[in-house]
């Protein structure tokens, strides 16, 4: 746990944890509202969003990309809703039509445009580059309080930290309306809550989290973290607050364990190169979900009498 750890592992781990947390927070509500696959759809349409942003601005600067990706997510949500209503098609199929078409458009644009000189390709979009987000300026634990070294942190870290904090703040501020609108829409409507607006705001928040996390860790983790930690927590408790806290702990644990296993696991087994951290984090979260499915206390449809 010396200088090398701070240089090469601390920042990717922190980014992984923050990305996992930022996705898991809205994921809790998406799962309960049976909209889990919105996360899947959003993470597919992020690709056309960033490609369009790149084509418009000509650079891979962060802000245009985030705006492009967020815009694409919003377009996708609107299109899904429009097709569902105009065509009277069930939501799953409408979603399938929209996100595959947008993703195909993204791949086509990517092939058409000259992106060879910038780091923008489908593999990167899927798998992220968590391993490369290292903090070269750090010389040890002292660097954590050294302003010069701190100013050379990978820019993804403060960005995902801000988004994670934003998600936490939104969850706390809108806790009551979110809870009511999620569990009893009719009642929420009756007491005058803007239920549809809450639903849309939740999806937008999820899109923001997805886009910020996607930038750092790729879309696999985004989908896995939207769904696996909240689903695991859902099988362990009947209380919403407990579920959210548990999901955060599970998300953070998945990120740390996954990163360590990906980075050091192969070395322990005698191989000399690491495996994909993003993939391993998703795998670990899946193993935890599997354990919860088999043994968790509240896994059944009917809750146990406490």
């Amino acid at each position: 746990m010396g200088a090398e750890f701070v240089q090469f592992s601390l920042t990717p781990m922190l980014i992984g944890v923050l990305a996992a947390v930022a996705c898991a927070l809205p994921g809790n509500f998406l799962i309960l509202r049976r909209q889990a696959l919105i996360g899947d759809a959003i993470s597919h349409v992020v690709l056309p969003g960033i490609v369009v942003a790149f084509l418009v601005t000509g650079t891979v600067a962060t802000m245009p990309m985030l705006i492009g990706a967020g815009g694409a997510a919003l377009v996708a949500v609107v299109l899904i809703e429009a097709i569902r209503r105009l065509g009277r098609i069930e939501p799953g199929a409408a979603m399938g039509v929209v996100f595959t078409a947008l993703f195909a458009g993204g791949v086509l644009l990517l092939e058409q445009s000259d992106t060879s000189r910038v780091h923008l390709d489908v593999d990167h979009a899927l798998m992220g580059n968590l391993e490369t987000l290292i903090w070269l300026r750090a010389s040890g634990w002292d660097s954590v309080i050294d302003p010069v070294a701190l100013s050379h942190l990978p820019p993804e870290l403060p960005r995902i930290a801000v988004v994670a904090a934003l998600m936490a703040a939104l969850t706390v501020i809108f806790w009551r309306p979110l809870k009511l609108a999620t569990f009893d829409e009719g009642f929420a409507r009756a007491i005058g809550l803007p239920v549809s607006a809450i639903g849309l705001a939740l999806v937008i928040a999820a899109a923001v989290a997805a886009v910020a996390a996607f930038d750092a860790v790729g879309s696999i983790i985004v989908i896995a973290m939207f769904i696996c930690p909240p689903a695991t927590a859902r099988l362990m408790t009947d209380r919403l607050a407990t579920q959210v806290w548990l999901s955060l702990a599970i998300a953070a644990l998945s990120a740390i364990l996954g990163y360590v296993l990906a980075g050091y696991g192969p070395i322990w087994l005698g191989f000399d190169s690491a495996v994909s951290a993003a993939g391993m984090i998703a795998t670990v979260s899946g193993v935890m979900l599997a354990i919860a499915c088999l043994w968790a206390r509240a896994r059944g449809r009917v809750a146990p009498v406490a």
Partner: protein
């Protein structure tokens, strides 16, 4: 354009021709297989299955290498893909059956975890295989450049088998899709029929991997049936239309992508299918958006026409611009708003029809007839001439209406 025509006519070279034929067959089979998936409302389960193929492909590669093989044997890779897709499907069903999680959460969990594990295995293969490209990444988005005769034969045979099985199983699958309870009561094994349906979807996913890749194959399973649903309410026709939409997308997409190097086959096929979908959404007769808008406009015009005539008959001023426009267009009023002779005649008729309806509703107890009064249905469509003459006898002689 000439290049596109060549490709459409299969004249753009051996490989392009193979790809075009393969894509057409794949699209046709996928459209048909996806139809039951859509009717059973399980369209997105195919997404989980498609993503779940990745670890199977990677494991099959590792196993084949471990036994001293090449690792790139297509049949072996596809066998692995199919096996892990079935495991993914089983897990989705198991999670839904055994835990409180809903299907969407189960699909998302299986999809992301299998795919993540597949990516881990891909990096393992990369590190084992320094310098030599395993090329497994091609399964993500498909790659048609190196398509061989045997791949085309695989797609053709596999697709034909899938279509044949669908034709054989279409009755039980239709029954299960629309009313599983009734199907079970008739003694059908609903679970097995569902499994057969998912097996067909799995087969399409696996044989489509080389051509369009695992991320986009679900588009060929979902978009053609949704498009076909706009055109018909009958399952047999829907199957055929979905097959044709998928086949057309495959054919045109492959031909188009053969014309330029920057046009990847899989995405182009998906975009053409999406184009056909969008066209159908708007322009299909009856269910389409345009048809709905036109029907609404026609209804609105009838209401305004009727209300306008009644206002003329009662000599009430008309202010609504749409009503005025409709009356003017039909020649019922002059440009300055004064009723023409024709307008007065029609207005008198409308008022008389209203009175006839009043009488009809007073003397007829048959609500099936009188209940059809909505202010728009002409009375001649509901009652016979004799009955109407009877109403007229009760009303009395005609009276002049409107400004004279």
């Amino acid at each position: 354009m000439a290049g596109f025509l060549d490709a459409v006519l299969l004249q753009a070279g051996y490989n392009a021709g193979l790809v075009t034929i393969g894509a057409t067959l794949l699209g046709f089979a996928a459209g048909m297989a996806g139809t039951f998936l859509f009717l059973r409302k399980r369209a997105l389960v195919s997404d989980a299955m498609a993503h779940a193929t990745l670890p199977g492909i990677a494991l099959a590669f590792l196993v084949m290498v471990a036994f001293g093989g090449d690792g790139r044997n297509l049949a072996g890779l596809l066998l692995g893909a199919g096996a892990s897709a079935l495991i993914g499907l089983y897990l989705v069903d198991w999670i839904v059956r055994r835990t409180r999680l809903a299907e969407d959460a189960a699909i998302g969990a299986v999809l992301s975890v299998f795919f993540g594990f597949g990516v881990v295995l891909l990096t393992v293969i990369q590190s084992l295989d320094r310098g030599r490209q395993a090329g497994l990444e091609d399964f993500l988005l498909g790659a048609t450049a190196g398509m061989l005769m045997q791949d085309a034969v695989l797609i053709a045979v596999g697709g034909a088998l899938v279509v044949a099985l669908i034709v054989i199983l279409r009755r039980p699958m239709t029954l299960v899709a629309f009313d599983p309870g009734h199907a079970a009561a008739l003694g059908l094994r609903v679970g097995r029929i569902d499994l057969a349906m998912m097996g067909l979807v799995m087969a399409i996913t696996v044989i489509g991997l080389t051509l369009v890749g695992l991320i986009l194959i679900i588009a060929l399973l979902i978009i053609p049936p949704v498009t076909a649903r706009f055109w018909t309410d009958r399952v047999a026709r829907m199957l055929l239309i979905a097959g044709c939409v998928g086949g057309a997308a495959g054919y045109l997409g492959a031909a188009l992508s053969a014309t330029a190097p920057d046009l990847p086959t899989g995405p182009i096929i998906v975009l053409i299918a999406a184009g056909l979908f969008t066209f159908s959404l708007f322009f299909v007769p009856r269910r389409g958006v345009l048809a709905a808008v036109l029907a609404r406009r026609r209804f609105q015009a009838r209401v305004h026409w009727r209300q306008g005539l009644l206002s003329l008959a009662r000599a009430e001023p008309i202010h609504d611009p749409l009503t005025l426009r409709i009356l003017r267009a039909a020649g019922a009023i002059r440009p300055d708003g004064v009723a023409t002779d024709k307008g007065r005649a029609l207005a008198a008729k409308s008022l008389r029809d209203e009175r006839r309806w009043d009488i009809a509703r007073a003397i007829h107890q048959d609500t099936a007839l009188t209940g059809r009064y909505d202010g728009l249905t002409p009375i001649e469509e509901v009652f016979t001439a004799d009955q109407i003459a009877d109403f007229d006898a009760r009303i009395g002689p005609p009276q002049p209406v409107g400004a004279v």
